[in-house]
């Protein structure tokens, strides 16, 4: 520091004297700066600034301070703020200065404001009027200043105030104003896109502005717009190409040249725009080939900025629809970058390679020696970028080398950000390509110990999930687990004090869960090691809890040790630990209880979690009776907080999991799906996380575009042997490296490097590069996670299990047939083949697959024909029933006349008979009354009615067989229908057989559907009973429904509408909440809790029956929709 001080002091006098006129530094500022430079400690500086600030405070509040002094005070305040001291009392004075002063004062004032105040500072409101005034000023400089401050600090909500004026400035005669206005509008677009939507046409005008500067500024906007939606701007491609051509052709004034390159920054922008436009669009790309070619050709000069253009050009060439000639040139350019001695260019070359390697893995091969050199480069950034590149080319063959390199780098790295970023990638690679168990566990150990507590939580989570769920074969899983246990025991025997908490947690979980697999190690030893951890000071209390739960799981027999431990912990200060210790003691004394709580080896996905915590209901109701406030779930609390906002906060509505959505073609006709979805809702968060991670695993580097254009999924088995000479066979890599590299003397060092190269770039040759990069042919990840049973029923483990578990009857045959044709060793691929990609298997498998598919298809349609076709004509619930004389109801038996009943509707008819039906709602059953009318003048004999329905229990009560039916008379038969399991719609089919002439039997088929609504009965309970019942029910569903708002009391109207449609019992309406009860015939009750939430009705249903709430909800929705 001393030399600077010295230099400053010697330079000071001269500097001050050289200043003339108004720009002369006033005494105070000179003193301030001088005294700061003389200081020797931070402490002194603090004192000095404090004194300075109090002096400023005094001055600003003094009425005698002139504007000029004020300007100087502001600069001093800015200086203090820059050094990190708080000068917030000057903020208001900065605004005042901008408001009241002349141009010079304004300039300082605006500068201070834009430095002091961040977006959204409340003082900014005071500035709006000033800015408005200045925007309208005739003084160019004032307008410029206003535009600058607007672009710098104006928040979203203040934009409308200035927008019209800024917009006007787009047609200002001065080009500098137009440019600043364009940029200000761009800034507005970034923070509030919808507010500037209407001026898109004006952006267009700016693009065609006669001043190139204005045009260049408008490219900012277009770049952003095109990035967001490239398709809407394809028609501008021609314009951009023309502009670029003219720039390249030197049509711009010389003024725009920078180191004799015409408008380089403009070129960069244009190239970026073009690459966005041409992405995956052949016809648009064709427009730009020529200009890109010219760009590549022109950028020959050896200056930094030409490389900047080249880099953009190369990126564009690889982004747009490929053209072989251009790709070749671009590849050569990348070579120039990578081989350049300039370190900046090398960096960009590596970046370009990382980008390009997804399209063309061969380039990495070409530059393998350079990449190796970069790996040992002294520059941190270069190393990191190289590892990024290696990450992209990792495959099963080079994974060990690459991961080792990455770990080496990480061990010597101390930048947190880099560690987090890279360690995640290591974990990803390890999971994806691990060659064997021991390597995997060892690598993960490194990941945990290096990443430590910086690790993102999903790394340990994924790892544990992988161990727990395992893959297809139990034997393999156990081996992996066993290896993990062994390795952790070794780790724990060493020094443990430096291990990160996260690693300790993982270890204790694994030991708790799987220590029993290791027969040779004494359990006492495991317990001892874990207990030892507890004694360490560095172990956090969260980790202690993990360790204790591990100790709880390690089985019986060691009661004495455990009891000692529990004893010592029961006096711990940490309540959670104390609780755990209590549990530990209880469980270790009661082995039966423990067996029940922690079943050994229970399947992971078989664990059923009672998410509604119904076992606590007794406790809760006691507490409620004692006057406790009822529990409100978090979402309800939140809803109440933001009552006025009618946001849908219900997470799991009717959006079904993807695997099920394919079935829901029939507009949610089949409610069984709903019940599945609600069954899933409990663990769907977990599910989605899992789904996310498994897609991560399957993610491969996709190769879509190649040298010769689009690559239509080439077969791995047929490598293109007739590729040009550039094709490097994997076996001859060494040779290739020699050929490409201008190799000096083969020193031993070089040989080492080449050895490294061959291990790094193995598997990147032509034949295997296709298989590596083609998504479908990527080697199956070693640790494939086991799919959950309900995720897709077809892809579970081995053939046997799969056929056992398949639920569809038709599957069994297909599966066994299919497995017959595949070798047992690769069930994973054969299964996925079966489901999605028959094309990637051998020809033999393909044809058989097709057969089976057809088989299956036939089967399914048969099933459809069997029970799923809904017979639409002549349904009972037809919207416009044919008018039937209502006097039919008079024929109802006397004992049924008083029951509530539906309208009589016609079922079917033929010349001799006509059938109608009526539904009667009895408490315990639905009575279906069928009226059979003889329409002829003759007697019809032997009339017999047969009714079948698979979903319902039917019982004929009377009158289904008649010996004769007199002319013009009607007979009545009725059935009692019972529904045990709810279905939304139940179809009935039946026939009536009769004889008009002896010996000649006619049959008249009829069919109809019934809805669950017919089986719902009101449940009359009091509010207290409702409350008790509510707590005892376990299955619940929540959903927002439409609220009928056309009447005065929306809630009441809606509930009444529901009551009419569904025979519900409205128990009570209190304020904005209503409780409603019903039951399925005389069976399972269902309670509905309705609350008005903005414009919606938040419905919460509970029932002991898992599926019932869904059906009732479905009917409520329908009823409201039809209302």
């Amino acid at each position: 520091m001393s030399d600077v001080v010295e230099k400053t002091l010697t330079a000071l006098p001269g500097l001050f004297e050289s200043q003339t006129g108004a720009a002369k530094i006033t005494n105070r500022l000179r003193q301030l700066i001088k005294s700061i430079t003389e200081l020797t400690s931070k402490h002194e500086e603090e004192n000095l600034i404090k004194r300075e600030l109090s002096a400023i405070k005094e001055q600003v509040s003094s009425p005698n301070t002139t504007m000029k002094q004020m300007r100087e005070i502001m600069v001093r305040a800015m200086y203090c703020e820059m050094l990190g001291y708080d000068a917030s009392f000057t903020y208001i004075h900065a605004i005042k200065l901008a408001q009241q002063g002349g141009v010079l004062e304004k300039r300082v004032g605006y500068l201070a404001v834009s430095l002091f105040l961040n977006e959204g500072h409340e003082l900014l409101l005071l500035l709006v009027n000033t800015v408005l005034k200045d925007l309208q000023s005739t003084n160019l400089i004032e307008v410029c200043m206003a535009l600058t401050v607007v672009a710098q600090v104006f928040p979203k909500d203040m934009i409308p105030a200035v927008l019209p004026l800024v917009e006007d400035k787009l047609s200002h005669p001065k080009e500098i104003i137009r440019r600043k206005a364009v940029l200000a509008l761009y800034k507005f677009y970034l923070i509030a896109p919808n507010q500037v939507q209407h001026i898109h046409a004006k952006f267009c005008k700016a693009l065609s502005d006669k001043d190139p500067g204005v045009m260049a500024s408008s490219l900012h906007i277009y770049l952003q717009l095109i990035r967001e939606s490239p398709d809407s701007y394809k028609d501008l491609t021609g314009s951009f190409v023309t502009i670029l051509k003219q720039v390249l052709g030197g049509k711009l004034p010389v003024d725009f040249n920078y180191h004799s390159v015409p408008a380089p920054w403009l070129q960069i922008q244009l190239l970026r725009i073009l690459s966005l436009l041409g992405k995956e669009d052949q016809s648009t790309s064709e427009l730009m080939y020529e200009v890109l070619d010219e760009s590549l050709r022109r950028a020959e000069m050896n200056h930094n900025i030409t490389y900047a253009i080249l880099y953009e050009c190369v990126k564009a060439v690889y982004t747009i629809h490929p053209k072989a000639e251009l790709l070749e040139k671009a590849a050569r350019c990348i070579g120039n970058f990578v081989l350049s001695p300039k370190i900046n260019l090398k960096y960009l070359g590596l970046k370009a390679l990382t980008y390009v390697v997804q399209h063309d893995a061969k380039l990495a091969l070409q530059h393998q020696m350079t990449i190796i050199e970069c790996l040992d480069h002294s520059d941190f950034t270069i190393k990191r970028e190289t590892l990024e590149l290696l990450f992209r080319i990792t495959n099963a063959q080079n994974v060990t080398v690459i991961v080792e390199k990455m770990l080496d780098f990480l061990r010597s790295c101390n930048d947190e950000h880099t560690i987090i970023h890279l360690i995640g990638k290591v974990a990803e690679l390890a999971e994806k390509f691990a060659p064997d168990n021991s390597w995997f566990i060892q690598t993960m150990n490194d990941v945990f110990s290096i990443g430590g507590d910086l690790l993102q939580q999903d790394v340990p989570n994924n790892f544990l999930r992988l161990l727990a769920e395992g893959s297809e074969s139990k034997e393999e899983d156990d081996q992996l687990r066993l290896y993990a246990v062994e390795s952790y025991l070794t780790v724990l025997k060493g020094h443990t004090s430096h291990l990160p908490q996260c690693f300790l947690q993982v270890m204790s979980w694994v030991l708790g869960e799987y220590a029993h697999l290791q027969e040779s190690v004494d359990r006492r030893e495991v317990i001892r090691l874990l207990t030892q951890l507890l004694d360490q000071r560095s172990v956090s209390s969260e980790t202690r809890v993990w360790i204790l739960s591990a100790l709880t799981k390690i089985p019986e027999g060691q009661t004495d040790l455990i009891l000692d431990l529990a004893e010592s912990l029961s006096s711990s200060q940490d309540t959670v630990l104390r609780q755990q210790a209590q549990e530990l003691r209880h469980l270790s004394q009661d082995s039966q209880l423990r067996e029940w709580v922690l079943p050994r080896g229970a399947p992971w996905d078989g664990i059923e979690v009672d998410s509604s915590l119904s076992f606590l209901d007794g406790f809760v109701s006691e507490a409620l009776a004692a006057g406790a406030a009822p529990y409100k779930p978090p979402h309800q609390r939140q809803e109440e907080l933001c009552e006025d906002r009618a946001l849908n906060l219900e997470p799991y509505s009717f959006s079904l999991p993807v695997s099920l959505s394919s079935c829901s073609i029939t507009d949610r006709q089949s409610p069984t799906l709903l019940s599945v979805s609600s069954g899933l809702s409990g663990n769907s968060a977990e599910l989605s996380q899992k789904a996310g991670s498994s897609t991560l695993i399957l993610e491969g580097v996709k190769r879509v575009w190649g040298k010769d254009g689009y690559l239509p999924q080439k077969e791995a088995t047929a490598p293109p042997v007739d590729e040009p000479s550039a094709a490097v066979q994997p076996a001859s890599q060494q040779e290739a490296a020699e050929r490409i590299e201008p190799r000096p003397e083969p020193s031993t060092q070089n040989q080492d490097k080449q050895q490294l190269a061959s291990s790094l770039f193995v598997g990147l040759g032509v034949g295997s590069s296709v298989s590596l990069l083609g998504k479908s042919e990527a080697p199956p990840p070693r640790f494939r996670k086991k799919p959950r049973p309900h995720e897709s029923s077809s892809s579970s483990g081995t053939s046997k299990r799969s056929s056992d578990s398949s639920s569809h009857s038709s599957r069994n045959t297909t599966d066994s047939f299919l497995y017959g044709s595949f070798p047992e060793e690769e069930p994973a691929t054969s299964i996925s083949t079966f489901d999605h990609t028959p094309k990637s298997t051998t020809a033999n498998g393909l044809s058989q697959n097709k057969d089976t598919k057809e088989d299956r298809h036939a089967n399914t349609s048969q099933i459809l024909g069997g029970d799923m076709v809904i017979v639409r004509p002549s349904t009972i619930q037809d919207k416009h029933p044919p008018s039937v004389s209502s006097d039919l109801t008079a024929l109802l038996p006397a004992d049924l006349k008083d029951l509530p009943h539906s309208d009589v509707i016609s079922l079917t008819s033929d010349p001799s008979l006509s059938l109608s039906s009526c539904r009667l709602f009895r408490d315990e059953a639905l009575l279906l009354v069928i009226f059979i009318s003889n329409c002829t003048e003759t007697v019809i004999k032997d009339v017999a009615v047969q009714l079948t329905c698979e979903e319902l229990k039917t019982a004929s009560l009377r009158g289904n067989v008649m010996d004769c039916l007199e002319a013009r008379s009607t007979s009545v038969c009725h059935y009692a229908l019972l529904m045990d399991d709810p279905h939304t719609n139940v179809s009935l089919t039946g026939t009536v057989s009769y004889q008009t002439q002896p010996g000649h039997t006619n049959t008249l088929p009829f069919s109809g559907t019934l809805s669950t609504a017919d089986f719902i009965r009101p449940l009359v309970v009091t509010t207290e009973e409702y409350g008790k019942l509510w707590l005892s029910l376990s299955h619940d569903v929540k959903q927002n429904l439409k609220l009928l708002t056309d009447a005065g009391d929306p809630l009441r109207t809606t509930l009444n509408a529901l009551k009419d449609a569904l025979q519900l019992h409205v128990v009570d309406i209190i304020g904005s909440e209503g409780i409603v009860a019903c039951r399925l015939l005389s069976g399972a009750p269902c309670l509905l809790h309705c609350r008005v939430n903005g414009a919606a009705l938040a419905m919460w249903l509970r029932s002991p029956h898992p599926a019932l709430p869904d059906f009732i909800l479905y009917h409520c929705q329908r009823a409201l929709a039809h209302h």
Partner: protein, 207 residues
């Protein structure tokens, strides 16, 4: 977009700080929890960390750095140049060209050199406000406004002339002062023969 421009000396003393985006602590990212004060503390922290990162690097390594954890995100990058006693650091996101920014720094420094005649650290110390005015003509609200040095110098000189004229008029009657303030200063010719430029955007359909 340029997120921040920092200039500090070899000892980490800030010489110019310009933030175009307010970096806030990740936990406090929810807007209303962040006061001006917090944003400023954050800024100081960023300056310290950036200095720490940049000063460790030799002169023969590349001029790019992936952002530290404070500036955050792999999208952000530090691009810097080291001149004698000063570091010029631009923090940018991925939408800027690395080499382009590197040359923009060069343009900025050359402009400073032209305005101050052999610029040195002291010029930056004593004319912090002027440096800001020059920067405002190069970068506006995080977007590159002008890359042409002559143009930047012309704009700055326009403002300086105004300053000088006011200095001379300081004793004049108030009416004269306000007349000067409101006068429409003559535009500096741009040396562009507009007739030469025939950039035409054909058939721009309204969108």
């Amino acid at each position: 977009m340029i997120k921040a421009i920092l200039i500090f000396n070899n000892h980490g003393k800030p010489r110019l700080i310009r933030f175009y985006q307010y970096f806030l602590n990740m936990q406090l990212q929810i807007k209303h929890l962040c006061t001006n004060k917090m944003a400023e503390d954050m800024q100081q922290q960023i300056i310290r960390e950036t200095f720490h990162l940049v000063s460790k690097r030799d002169d023969n390594v590349c001029n790019f750095l992936e952002g530290g954890s404070l500036i955050g995100g792999s999208d952000y990058k530090l691009i810097y140049r080291h001149y004698a006693t000063l570091y010029f650091v631009f923090c940018v996101d991925s939408s800027e060209s690395e080499l382009g920014i590197l040359d923009l720094i060069q343009v900025f420094v050359e402009t400073l050199d032209k305005c101050f005649e052999n610029v040195c650290e002291l010029d930056l110390i004593f004319h912090m406000d002027k440096v800001h005015y020059i920067l405002q003509e190069v970068v506006m609200g995080g977007m590159v406004l002008e890359t042409n040095m002559n143009e930047i110098v012309a704009q700055v000189e326009l403002q300086n002339r105004m300053e000088k004229s006011e200095g001379g008029l300081s004793g004049a009657p108030a009416r004269a002062v306000s007349a000067v303030k409101n006068m429409n200063l003559p535009e500096i010719p741009r040396n562009i023969n507009i007739g030469d430029i025939n950039i035409k955007v054909p058939s721009l359909s309204p969108f």
